[in-house]
């Protein structure tokens, strides 16, 4: 798991998983939540991820994407939003009725606006 070739110990220092809330950028979250209030209902069950076709073939994980939005982790979000094919299967399985497809679209839109300093 942590072992690496080239060091005599057989392990290395693990990367910190500390969530730095001071560094989080809530602009995308606020943008999405304002326009798609059902996003607040997500309780991270992972049904969307389990049924996601894109996730079967690419490293895409809708639940992880939702977490990035909520934590304000913009950098990993940037690539994550491009992986969704917007097929909408996740909409059908969400037990809380979250409009997940709209969440992805809005997040992608918010990032574009963020890059243009329009957010």
């Amino acid at each position: 798991m942590n072992g690496s070739a080239g060091n005599k110990f057989g392990f290395t220092v693990n990367r910190s998983r500390l969530i730095d809330y001071d560094a989080s950028d809530r602009l995308v979250r606020d943008y999405v939540t304002l326009r798609e209030p059902s996003f607040r209902l997500c309780f991270a069950c992972g049904g969307c991820t389990a049924t996601c076709t894109a996730g079967q073939h690419a490293p895409f994980n809708l639940r992880r994407m939702n977490t990035f939005i909520r934590r304000g982790e913009i950098e990993p979000l940037r690539e994550e939003v491009t992986r969704c094919m917007l097929c909408g299967k996740c909409l059908l399985v969400c037990p809380r009725g979250v409009n997940t497809r709209n969440v992805v679209s809005l997040a992608a839109e918010a990032i574009k606006k963020l890059d243009r300093n329009e957010l």
Binding site: M1, G3, N7, F9, G10, F11, T12, V13, N14, S16
Partner: protein, 353 residues
């Protein structure tokens, strides 16, 4: 808050520590890592404090590391600990003094189990009798050896030859205290100050003139975590936890770290070398490393014991700068010599040697 109420609240954080007559149980790993600490404790107890403390050569490991590493079943460890109690019973002692925090946690866990599930006590009595023919009484008190030093800290302060003070500036030394997780985080009532306000090392440091550093990751685990370390591929978790602590304490410029747990003292000392190798970072002032002491070594220094007789030269981070700061004269050339002048093995990769 009313004084009566305050007393009542704080009563839950106190611990009764016996005054005398202890049955001492050693740690299985400390004698390797901190060669003279346990002997120093016995010497302080017998010679400086005049206490009756007994140890039985038939005492064994508590098997705590195996238990936490999932290779020793709970029934087995209960029987091993029951045998220790049987040795104490045979010797006529009711107060157990425990050197190791892992053992301390094991003893408290087992006593609590027996209290809440009396059938496990009966089963253990049966297992022990069938295996060894021994019987045992439950101990009256369970103290960690650091509890005992804490109790007599003022008496030690009165006999002090040195203090935790920089002799040149007269300022108190800045000390990081680290309490082993299994001391009070599992069963707070068995620790001085409980899990929230552990005072066992703070009391010693303050009585002996030092200042305690209150840094953000003060109560973070050292990283030992048993399976985190015992499985080589997982050791990065262990190392990262220690690094988190070092990074957090570093800005406060600690003079040394003191710990009451064998694993904590070992890792906070040895990992400094590992981090130097892996990350190229050496902590401490002038990048000399932060010396990591056991509480017995700290007490021994205060009482004027020879640091080399206490085995302090076998720490990865050498304490020469600290000793100088405290005004203790210790010849570095004699570090690895026995009393008769023969050569002791010198460890490789020492920091600040």
């Amino acid at each position: 808050m009313k004084l009566e109420g305050k007393k009542r609240v704080w009563a839950e954080y106190q611990k009764e520590i016996p005054d005398d007559h202890f049955f001492y149980v050693r740690s299985c790993i400390r004698q390797t890592f901190f060669a003279g600490s346990e002997q120093t404790f016995l010497k302080i107890m017998r010679d400086d404090l005049g206490k009756d403390i007994y140890e039985d050569p038939r005492h064994t490991t508590c098997t705590g590391i195996g238990y936490h590493g999932d290779v020793v079943p709970f029934e087995t460890i209960q029987t091993v600990v029951a045998r220790h109690f049987a040795l104490a019973t045979e010797a006529g002692y009711k107060n157990i003094a425990i050197s190791c925090v892992t053992s301390f946690g094991i003893y408290t866990e087992i006593l609590e189990t027996w209290k809440h599930f009396p059938e496990t006590l009966e089963k253990t009595r049966e297992n022990l009798f069938r295996a060894t023919g021994r019987v045992f009484d439950l101990p009256v008190s369970i103290s960690h050896a650091s509890d005992i030093i804490y109790k007599f800290r003022d008496e030690i302060a009165r006999k002090a030859k040195y203090n935790l003070v920089d002799v040149r500036s007269g300022k108190p030394l800045k000390v990081v205290e680290h309490i082993g997780c299994h001391y009070a985080k599992m069963f707070p009532k068995h620790g001085i100050g409980g899990a929230e306000f552990p005072h066992v090392l703070v009391g010693m440091i303050e009585s002996w003139g030092g200042d305690v550093i209150d840094y953000p990751e003060r109560r973070h685990c050292c990283g030992f975590g048993f399976r985190q370390y015992l499985v080589q591929a997982n050791r990065g978790y262990s190392l990262s936890a220690s690094r988190k602590k070092f990074e957090s304490m570093e800005p406060y410029r600690p003079d040394f770290i003191v710990a009451n747990c064998p694993g904590c003292a070992m890792f906070m000392d040895r990992w400094q070398y590992t981090l130097k190798e892996l990350d190229g970072i050496t902590y401490g002032s002038n990048e000399t490393g932060i010396p990591t002491l056991t509480y017995e070594e700290m007490a021994g220094l205060i009482l004027g014991y020879d640091p080399w007789e206490m085995g302090m030269q076998y720490h990865n981070v050498q304490s020469l700068g600290l000793l100088k700061k405290m005004g203790i004269t210790a010849d570095p050339a004699k570090r690895f010599l026995t009393k008769d002048g023969s050569r002791l093995p010198e460890p490789a990769n020492l920091l600040n040697s």
